[in-house]
Amino acid sequence: MEQQKPVSQAPAAVVPATPDPREAEFEARIARGEKIEPKDWMPERYRRQLVRMMAQHAHSEVVGMLPEGNWITRAPSLRRKMGLLAKVQDEGGHGLYLYCAAETLGVDRADLVDELLEGKAKYSSIFNYPTLTWADIGVIGWIVDGAAIVNQTMLAKGSYGPYARAMVRVCKEESFHKKQGYEMVTALAQGTPEQKQMVQDALNRWWWPSLMMFGPHDQQSSNSDELMRWRVKLQSNDTLRQRFVNQTVNQARAIGLTLPDPDLCFNEETGNWEFGAIDWAEFKRVLNGQGPCNRDRLRARRKAHEEGRWVREAALAYAEKHQVN
């Protein structure tokens, strides 16, 4: 069962002089396209990389609730409010699928959450940008979730069973997120000049951070080779980013919006939309805590955690009381 800790752990302190023979068999299983399950033997580094990825992914879902949650009380209609509430609840659910998947590798969710609250854990840089207007909510659903879908569709085919299964579940739900966002963006783009300007402004602000969601260029991505060899990732950051740009260009054009990149041009030969240079200095700044909202996000998470404490304590006290009787 997934929850139980792996029976065989890789040797901890002593690194063997000869490579572990189990490693070759592990690599062969990956090459055959088999899924790795929690109790199967795996290299310690595979386990660590997966815990790191799943924890960061879980944190991103949970922190990702904040920029959008910000607008629930100000949604312009009941229809929009129901949609947004459901979407934000989904993001919380996605966080839980991912913490659950991480726990199959013997870590405890509470420890991962502590790392987030203490500011030691990373999460997607995109959620450190502010949601300034209602149009931001539409644009996030359309392109931030759109970018996430491109990445997660790939992760759903990855080699670690519990992670891949969580991604299948997530992808099924994300398509609603993207569609409700695009509907919202379309309504604004076809609305008054002020509404159109508002949604164009939101797109201008979210476009580049969305491209950064795929991570550094392949040559600069330190983890990529290993993760691809182990089929945790099946495609590179740049490949996924290009796929996202190609699909988004036409979606923007169809509703009369412009992507804020003067260098964007179609390459007939490759069939790709080539785009301008990404500001990696900004990416690093935001990832390292210097984005516009990093401190707000952590403060909000800590506040929610603290203010929910009495509920957790009461539920546990109730459970213990009824167990005794």
Binding site: G93, A101, R309, L316, Y318, A319
Partner: protein, 95 residues
């Protein structure tokens, strides 16, 4: 491990998607008791579909290990006679 307010026990969740379908493992939740485990399972794994839920304390499950696999499963390949294709009957007859 003893439960604390921040570390509730783990429950495995099985969801029946629709009437007549089997209950399938969906994932896990943390909860202090069975009632809240069901509630959390509903909020986490049955937001859009589902008609029945099981929650089981993870500790209560005994699972086979990869080391058990040869003993449990290797003989499967030798048991072709358990499949209908193994048996020959006259072509003209429909069974």
């Amino acid at each position: 491990m003893e439960a604390t307010a921040d570390r509730w026990p783990v429950w495995e969740v099985f969801v029946q998607e629709k009437s007549g379908a089997p209950h399938e493992h969906a994932g896990s939740v943390h909860a202090p008791d069975a009632t809240l485990a069901l509630q959390n399972a509903r909020d986490t794994y049955a937001r859009r579909s589902g008609c029945s839920l099981w929650v089981v304390p993870s500790e209560a499950i005994t699972a086979s290990t990869p080391e058990d696999s040869p003993m449990l499963f290797d003989s499967i390949a030798d048991k072709v006679y358990r499949h209908p294709q193994f048996y020959k009957i006259p072509r003209s007859v429909r069974l």
